[in-house]
């Protein structure tokens, strides 16, 4: 099956996403962490647990770990998230989550800012597939819940 640029399926399954779905960053269970949140998508049964470790002063995300089961979109999204937030100030991570949510709700109309979202811009195509937006958001919602616990 070839994937042309005009292929909507190719927009959804960007190579970055397929790669992250297979070689996952942060897919592990931590024994020590500052916050943990479990999130589930009841329509498809996808589930994820996100664990967050902050710096001693609480200002920086030292590590984001996650484990769960789900489709390639949800797994790749968690992997990209884990890569992106490591070493970032909490405030920046929060605004990153806001930007990602805005992108996911845009139904393909928003041009994402790669400076803010890094590899997560690959999920722009997902926003055109309304039924898959929740898959992409799953780990980000869980991370947001972790930050809320710590606020």
């Amino acid at each position: 099956m070839e994937r042309a640029a005009s292929d909507p399926l190719g927009d959804l399954y960007q190579q970055v996403i397929l790669d992250h779905a297979k070689r996952r960053t942060g897919d592990q269970v931590l024994q020590a962490f500052d916050a943990e949140h479990y999130e589930r998508n009841p329509t498809c049964g996808d589930e994820i647990t996100v664990q967050l470790v902050l710096s001693a002063d609480g200002g920086v995300v030292d590590e984001l770990a996650w484990h769960g089961a789900g489709c390639s979109i949800s797994m790749a999204s968690a992997s990209v998230l884990a890569e992106l937030v490591q070493g970032k100030p909490v405030a920046e991570v929060r605004s990153m989550i806001d930007s990602f949510r805005e992108l996911m709700r845009s139904r393909g109309t928003l041009e994402p800012d790669e400076d803010v979202l890094g590899d997560a811009v690959a999920f722009q195509g997902v926003s055109k597939f309304v039924m898959r937006v929740k898959c992409a958001m799953l780990s980000w919602v869980a991370a947001e819940a972790c930050l809320t616990q710590l606020a």
């Binding site: 909507p8 399926l9 779905a21 498809c44 049964g45 390639s72 979109i73």
Partner: protein, 442 residues
């Protein structure tokens, strides 16, 4: 071409028996406007009839004709349209009743099959609180009583029984399924006890296509003095069904899975049991005498039909049933059995595909669920959709069964009378490419 023109011009069609020919399927397909479209640039291969079936012109036209010419409130009003409306509404009930071997007084309109199963469970909960006594006492549950279901049930035939158990102190138990998601009459006998008051099970599993040993289960239940509740959602649309012959006490099915509209379902109850069942929803249209203190209720089925009913939907469902009858439920079953065999054989021969449910060669209905090693069902469904192939993905409202199978989600292809060999072949071709697309085949 209407189905009556198409199908009654050949009076031998039903007697001819056997699976539908490809010419017959082509003629049937011409009656279904929704099948004649392109999806994502490909002709639609609709393999999700187990979730909801497409509707023929005859059904769409029947509902529209009713709304354009007759539409009025039923069982009230003195005007001509009200009388015509009531006649059609009750004639529809008779059509449904005949189709499943029941009397019209044994057919209750509900919103859908889930609603019908909830009606039975909630009615029994009410009986257990003493409502409807003394007639309802035979249905009342108390602590120590058992409700027996199977591990393979759709959530709609599980959760209402969990709620009933919680409401009455009865215990919910289940017949465990084997590694392939099926069970035998012996498994059921082993799970049976003389404390069981209700045995509820799916005629055909919406996940595995497994056909329950209904006769044996009914015999077991009745020997223990238990009533039986049949989830007939996947059987009523797809095969000859005679509920009186099967001997079940209650049964539920949905209009939209059998070429009819959404918003209408059917509860069948054996006359004497429906008469014993107290009402669940109360209000207008289900009463004889109302005072400020108390109310006397109508006999079934009206006792269970409070408020405005899905009238145009009932009329359209009757038309759907006439359509199915004209084709012949036995022939539809044979057609789907043949397609299911092709699906099972084809899928089983693709590396990395695990078909759940009865093994190849074992009886199964016309639906097949499968797991693709290394690829989530949602990704499978997405790739198929991009090629115009519509399937269901997920847990199909049967989480405990999936857990038992060691899976969180499967992909399901389900067939109907309009499904072609080409639909099935396209699915098999596409599934063969799934693992390499997602890099799972290496």
């Amino acid at each position: 071409m209407t189905p009556t023109e198409a199908l009654t011009t050949e009076p031998d069609l039903r007697v001819s028996g056997g699976a539908l020919s490809s010419a017959e399927v082509a003629r049937i397909r011409a009656d279904f406007p929704a099948l004649d479209q392109a999806v994502n640039g490909h002709p639609l291969a609709y393999l999700d009839s187990g979730a909801t079936a497409q509707r023929p012109w005859a059904v769409l036209d029947a509902e529209r004709r009713f709304l354009e010419t007759v539409n009025a409130a039923v069982h009230r009003g003195a005007h001509t349209l009200a009388a015509l409306s009531t006649e059609e509404f009750e004639a529809a009930r008779e059509t449904v009743a005949r189709f499943v071997g029941a009397g019209p007084e044994e057919i209750v309109w509900t919103a859908n099959a889930t609603d019908a199963l909830n009606l039975v469970a909630s009615g029994i909960a009410n009986a257990s609180r003493g409502r409807g006594a003394p007639a309802s006492e035979r249905l009342a549950l108390q602590p120590g009583d058992e409700i027996l279901i199977t591990e393979a049930e759709h959530h709609a035939n599980l959760i209402p029984w969990q709620e009933l158990a919680a409401a009455t102190g009865a215990t919910l138990r289940w017949i465990p399924v084997r590694d392939d998601g099926t069970y035998t009459a012996q498994d059921a006998a082993a799970a049976m006890s003389d404390k069981v008051r209700i045995l509820a099970f799916a005629h055909i599993s919406n996940v595995t296509g497994f056909v329950a040993p209904v006769a044996e289960l009914v015999e077991l239940a009745h020997a223990a003095g238990a009533i039986t509740v049949l989830d007939a959602c996947q059987s009523a649309p797809h095969r000859h069904l005679n509920l009186a012959e099967l001997g079940v006490d209650f049964a539920a099915f949905s209009g939209h899975k059998m070429l009819g509209p959404t918003g209408i379902g059917v509860l069948y109850g054996r006359s004497e049991l429906l008469q014993a069942l107290p009402p669940v929803r109360t209000g207008g249209s289900m009463i004889t005498t109302v005072t400020m203190e108390k109310t006397e209720f109508l006999a079934p089925p009206q006792r269970f039909e409070a408020g405005t009913q899905p009238v145009s939907q009932a009329v359209a469902l009757a038309e759907a049933i006439r359509y199915l009858d004209a084709v012949g439920p036995e022939r539809i079953e044979a057609h789907e059995r043949r397609l299911a065999r092709t699906l099972v054989d084809g899928l089983s021969s693709i590396p990395g595909i695990r078909v759940v449910g009865p093994a190849a060669g074992e009886p199964r209905a016309g639906l097949v669920s499968f797991d693709v090693d290394g690829v989530h069902a949602h990704d499978v469904g997405q790739l198929l959709d991009a090629q115009g192939i519509a399937v269901r993905v997920g847990h199909h409202c049967a989480q405990p069964l999936h857990r038992r199978l060691g899976l969180t989600a499967t992909t399901r292809a389900s067939t109907y009378l309009y499904t072609t060999d080409a639909d099935v072949d396209r699915l098999l071709d596409s599934v063969a490419g799934v693992r390499s697309y997602f890099g799972a085949a290496s």
